[in-house]
């Protein structure tokens, strides 16, 4: 049920130029004729009915009347009866009716007429100007309503398309998540076998292997470990996508202190890490722990070849963005012309020989910050260090 932009434009274009249909109901031909004369030169399509029955028949087969002009005094079925029947139809009940009636029995008739669903009255003999003006008002109303309806339909179609796209996007995302999950999941078993059996070979047949054989076995083992790290990181990344955030007020000073304790346990380094006072943030603490951990570990890694390696962790307030946290190092930095690759999955700006890593760390950080509705960006210069900035989103 896709509607193209061309079709929508066509529907819009149809609206204004098309003549507007009016139904004239009167049992006397000369009355119909005089109405035709009065309304004739406008952009109206006039359709005549000679009795109430005739009018109903026309209304059943034709649609989109802007207005019905109906005589009250007609034989067999008068204007009021006809109007009541018209009002019973769901499709027709909103078509306005103007009754034409003779002066003599006006007050009583007016009441009956409104009950039957008339929207207006014109007393006979009518003034040409008043007739033209009243009809013009209803036609104008009809045109505006029609425009509004077309616009409404247009809007609804756009909304439907947007909803469809959103649904599709969610579905594709879910598929992608489950795909990457099951792929990385299923990759683990053969990998465990590769590195496991390489180890068994090494342990059980060490005396039978010469140096070259041992070297090759070492390469197998090492690559197995690397792939394992890749898969674990990819799994962590994939899991992140499906996780719901549980935000609370987090003391960033405490969090960073904990991160540093973890890092000291696992990473050997000589960096001098300076930590400024950090304001609290409303975030999920485990994820924010990961953000700080990845950024600080990166800073340590990429400044490891500098003496002294210096890292600064801090925060400043920005009028538009609020608190901006940052991690700054004096390490190898990066070339800003590769900036678009910085936060991509498996994207690296340094070789694994130079600095080890899987290329998922910053992608994870980026995803966490985006999930929070925050922003992350970086500045760097080759050999002069890098600074990573982030915000944690609105409260």
């Amino acid at each position: 049920m896709k509607t193209t932009a061309v079709e929508l434009k066509k529907a819009e274009a149809d609206a204004p130029g098309k003549p507007v249909k009016l139904l004239l109901v009167d049992d006397r031909e000369e009355n119909l004729l005089s109405l035709e004369v009065v309304l004739g030169d406008k952009n109206y399509e006039l359709i005549k009915a000679h009795s109430g029955r005739d009018a109903l028949k026309i209304l059943l087969s034709e649609q989109d009347f802007a207005l019905i002009l109906m005589d009250v005094q007609m034989p067999i079925m008068d204007g009021f009866e006809t109007a009541e029947l018209i009002r019973q139809s769901e499709r027709l009940k909103h078509v306005p009716i103007i009754f034409l009636t003779a002066n003599n029995n006006a007050p009583d008739n007016i009441f009956k007429g409104y009950q039957a669903g008339a929207v207006d009255y014109i007393l006979k003999p009518f003034s040409v100007q008043i007739m033209q003006a009243k009809v013009a008002v209803f036609v104008d109303l009809y045109n505006k309503t029609r425009e509004l309806r077309i616009q409404g339909e247009h809007l609804q179609k756009i909304n439907e398309q947007m909803a469809q796209h959103a649904e599709e996007l969610i579905r594709i995302n879910q598929e992608l998540e489950s795909f990457s999950y099951s792929v990385s999941h299923d990759l683990r078993a053969p990998l465990r076998a590769i590195s496991g059996f390489a180890r068994l070979l090494k342990e059980g047949y060490d005396d039978k292997l010469d140096d070259e054989g041992k070297r090759i076995l070492g390469i197998i083992g090492n690559n197995g470990m690397k792939m394992g790290k890749l898969i674990d990181d990819l799994l962590a990344f994939s899991r992140l996508g499906r996780k719901e955030l549980e935000k609370s007020k987090v003391d960033m000073n405490e969090l960073v202190a904990n991160v540093l304790v973890d890092i000291e346990k696992t990473v050997k380094h000589n960096a001098k890490i300076e930590i400024e006072e950090l304001p609290p943030a409303t975030t999920e603490d485990t994820l924010m722990h990961q953000v700080w951990c990845n950024l600080i570990t990166n800073a340590i890694k990429y400044s490891s070849k500098k003496t002294p390696a210096q890292i600064q962790v801090g925060c400043y307030e920005d009028q538009r963005e609020g608190n901006i946290y940052f991690v700054k190092d004096n390490g190898v930095g990066f070339d800003m012309s590769y900036y678009d690759k910085l936060f991509g999955v498996f994207q690296r700006l340094h070789s694994a020989e130079e600095f080890e890593g899987t290329g998922i760390g910053l992608a994870i950080v980026h995803r966490i910050i985006s999930k929070h509705g925050g922003k992350i960006w970086a500045e760097g210069k080759p050999d002069e260090g890098a600074t990573f900035y982030f915000t944690t989103g609105k409260k």
Binding site: H185, R188, L200
Partner: protein, 146 residues
């Protein structure tokens, strides 16, 4: 070896993983009483002494079931459910040993009455030590129901 004398039932469809697990158990001198079945359906046949496992007893009660989750035909969770539903077998200690760390799987396993849930470590050393620790805990430290 008679089936009822099996102390550890290893339910594992991946033969490499099964071999690694068996090797780790060998170090604890437990292999003599470890029996490996290759999927959930075979595990059920074993425990309930059906088909090729029919024998002197109406059920076989190992001291521990090491259970993988993702297996063809009958999944580990299905095996767990069957074992827990039967009065005769519901007390068998069951340790899930799987590649999955899915929160859904973990929750479901505990709901069905798993005694423990261990993710298979990727690294060889960690894998070996995980298996020996499991064996040590459940076969040496822990007092089994029979």
């Amino acid at each position: 070896m008679k089936f009822f004398e099996v102390e550890i039932l290893l339910v594992e469809d991946n033969s490499s993983d099964a071999e690694l697990t068996s090797r780790a158990l060998k170090k604890k001198n437990l292999t003599e009483r470890v029996y490996h079945v290759k999927d959930g359906a075979e595990a059920i046949s074993f425990v309930f002494a059906e088909g090729e496992y029919a024998g002197e007893r109406e059920v076989n009660l190992p001291k521990l079931i090491l259970l993988d989750l993702k297996m063809p035909k009958v999944s580990g969770l299905e095996v767990l459910r069957k074992v827990r539903e039967d009065e005769r077998t519901k007390m068998i200690p069951v340790v899930i040993l799987t590649s999955s760390k899915e929160a859904r799987d973990i929750a479901q396993a505990y709901k069905l009455g798993a005694n423990s849930f261990i993710e298979k470590p990727l690294e060889f050393d960690k894998y070996m030590s995980a298996v020996t620790e499991i064996a040590n805990y459940w076969m040496v430290l822990n007092l089994p129901p029979w």
